[in-house]
């Protein structure tokens, strides 16, 4: 089965905003295949279209044209609620801003995706505690986000991303709001997850962070201009 080792297959993906004379192409004819277990870095300057690409990969947005197959399912033309369903099960998000809900404890934040997947209370609490413990956050599980450091918050966010066991982790500038030490910790965790079999897509504009990915692609003016296999594998 050829398909089963591909998690993402995009062909001719483009995204346009506005219509007629005002139409702006943000992504042009993107062809991208990501195999399961890959650690892919996507870089590019701001305005290069990498955020839009990340949104489309993450099913937060739909492409104007082209075909997108995610883990064997054609997701190019999904309705909003179907996208939500796929996001919930297939993708774990790690954001630059952490995006934890300020009024929920670390544990409750981690549980969120499982609520929408309708996992029963006992099972999901166990799973969340286990994730927090793996990431060394057990003693912080009852803390609110504002009682934790940035690094701790991002680790909570990673735990949340793993809650529904998605195959794909989508990390959008995950170290952007962290000091070097915490940033390194986060990168270590992502690499570890990749080692354990998760596919990781890392979007960043920081060169040294990008260089830690096994494979790197660069976006310029909405086009994929450069693909390379990274030498550094840690």
């Amino acid at each position: 089965m050829k398909k089963s080792d591909e998690i993402i297959r995009m062909s001719n993906i483009s995204k346009a905003y506005g219509t007629g004379d005002l139409e702006t192409l943000v992504l042009r004819d993107i062809d991208l295949v990501v195999k399961k277990g890959e650690f892919l870095g996507i870089t590019g300057r701001s305005g290069s279209g990498k955020s839009t690409l990340m949104h489309i990969v993450g099913l937060l947005d739909t492409p104007t044209t082209g075909k997108y197959i995610l883990n064997g399912t054609d997701v190019s033309k999904l309705k909003e609620d179907e996208q939500a369903y796929q996001r919930n099960r297939e993708i774990g998000f790690v954001f630059q801003q952490f995006n934890l809900l300020p009024k929920l404890s670390a544990l409750e934040n981690v549980i969120l995706p499982a609520i929408y997947a309708e996992v029963d209370t006992k099972q999901r609490t166990e799973k969340a505690n286990q994730l927090l413990s793996t990431l060394g956050l057990t003693e912080h599980s009852e803390k609110k986000p504002n009682q934790m450091s940035g690094g701790q918050q991002q680790r909570v966010a990673i735990a949340r991303a793993l809650m529904n066991d998605p195959e794909l982790i989508l990390a959008d500038e995950p170290t952007g709001n962290l000091d070097t030490k915490s940033g390194d910790d986060v990168m270590k965790i992502l690499k570890q997850l990749n080692k354990e079999g998760k596919t990781v897509i890392l979007i960043t504009h920081e060169h040294d962070i990008a260089m830690q990915a096994k494979k790197l692609i660069q976006l310029e003016d909405g086009k994929l201009v450069h693909k390379e296999n990274n030498a550094i594998i840690t």
């Binding site: 949104h55 993450g58 937060l60 947005d61 909003e80 609620d81 939500a84 369903y85 996001r87 919930n88 099960r89 998000f93 954001f95 995006n99 809900l101 009024k103 969120l112 995706p113 609520i115 929408y116 997947a117 309708e118 949340r160 529904n164």
Partner: protein, 396 residues
């Protein structure tokens, strides 16, 4: 997302902004409270009046001046119901009914050094105790036909007058001033009670001719006719109409039986209940707008939360339900508190005035507060559910 999940979520959100939730809830509480209390007063009033009318006796016919209860005492209506007309009517109905004409005049009653200037002197005839259910005497007797015709000044005092002026003394044979003439007390009328703040026992009954002679009153407030039996009622009604039509037009008198009276009264009280309920409904509406307003604020404040929840897999309907339930819980809490307070207040009001809590007003208030939550929560909830996750996540 199951209902328990949603419930917990909404409760958390409500408690996260305690003061704001409390104030929003208060708006609904006031509206529901107003509905319960005002409707209770309305229906209490109706029950009271209905009861009062049926206590008049089943065979009672009331003849009043004017063409209906609405215009009887209105301005510009001239009272054409005279004493001779009533005398004539009594003679004509002698074999089928008891007829008691009533002419009321506000005057003073003085005994020794006690004086009350707000006493109704009711001029009537010796037939009064026969025609009127509560016209019995507890001491002495009502004045007789003989006493009435001889023109002696005799009076039957109401129970309040008795207790106020005579305490434990025997009033029979004592003389009191009614207006500025002396009357001899021959009897004490039984208690008929206080209604709507009017004491029906703070009265003196004197012969009709005395009211005419002393106060110059020759127009009657009403003529009470008590048919000798239930079967005679329609016949007596017809008789009255025939007799009075000789001297009066149809506009100048009206005949009220218990039923027609009840009809008229329930029309009035229903209108009153509706008007009161309407006023209360307006305050509930204002409360609902408060809910809508606070939910809109809440959606704006939590744009980022909504975006994140969607990114993590919340469907449109999950977000819609979350915000809708929050609105319904706010207004329902307000509604339940309002119902409890309203019922308490109605019970307290019932002790002083009249009021009776009706099941339908409680149910209506309950349904109304749920409906207010749904109606006014819908727009903000729809707005929340339509937010795009990208825009919402970017929102600062």
């Amino acid at each position: 997302m199951n209902i328990k999940e949603l419930f917990l979520l909404s409760t958390k959100a409500i408690f996260a902004n305690k003061l704001r939730s409390f104030l929003t809830t208060l708006g609904i509480t006031i509206g529901v409270f107003a509905i319960i209390v005002l409707v209770s007063i309305g229906s209490g009033l109706q029950a009271y009046i209905t009861n009062e009318i049926s206590s008049l006796g089943p065979n009672i016919i009331d003849v009043i001046p004017g063409n209906s209860l609405f215009t009887a005492f209105g301005p510009g209506t001239q009272n054409k119901l005279t004493i001779p007309l009533a005398r004539n009517l009594a003679n004509r109905l002698v074999s089928t009914a008891q007829v008691a004409p009533l002419a009321e005049v506000l005057t003073s009653v003085k005994y020794k050094n006690i004086e009350d200037k707000n006493v109704y002197a009711i001029g009537t005839t010796y037939l009064y105790p026969k025609a009127v259910t509560y016209g019995k005497t507890v001491m002495g007797n009502f004045f007789t036909q003989g006493q009435e015709q001889s023109g002696i000044k005799v009076a039957v005092i109401g129970y309040t007058i008795y207790t106020k002026y005579f305490k434990n003394q025997n009033p029979i044979g004592q003389k009191v001033f009614v207006g500025n003439e002396k009357y001899t007390i021959v009897g004490v009328a039984e208690k008929s009670g206080v209604s709507l703040g009017v004491d029906h026992d703070n009265v003196v009954y004197i012969p009709l001719e005395a009211v005419h002679a002393q106060f110059g009153v020759d127009r009657l407030t009403e003529i009470v006719v008590d048919a000798n039996s239930r079967e005679l009622l329609p016949f007596v009604k017809k008789q009255i109409n025939t007799v009075l039509s000789k001297d009066l037009t149809q506009d100048e008198f009206s005949i009220q039986t218990g039923e027609t009276l009840l009809d008229t009264v329930s029309k009035i009280t229903n209108m009153l209940s509706l008007a009161l309920g309407g006023i209360a409904a307006i305050s509930l509406l204002v409360g609902g707008i408060g809910v809508a307003n606070i939910m809109l604020v809440s959606v704006t404040e939590r744009t980022k939360e909504i975006g994140l929840r969607k990114a993590l897999g919340a469907k449109r309907s999950d977000i819609l339900k979350q915000f809708l339930l929050e609105a319904v819980m706010l207004s329902l809490t307000g509604g339940i508190v309002g119902i409890i307070l309203g019922m308490l207040a109605s019970v307290i009001i019932a002790m002083i005035l009249v009021s009776s809590v009706t099941l339908w007003s409680v149910l209506l208030a309950f349904c109304f507060s749920v409906a207010v939550g749904i109606v006014f929560g819908m727009a903000p909830a729809v707005r929340a559910s339509k937010l795009s996750p990208i825009d919402a996540l970017r929102y600062e």
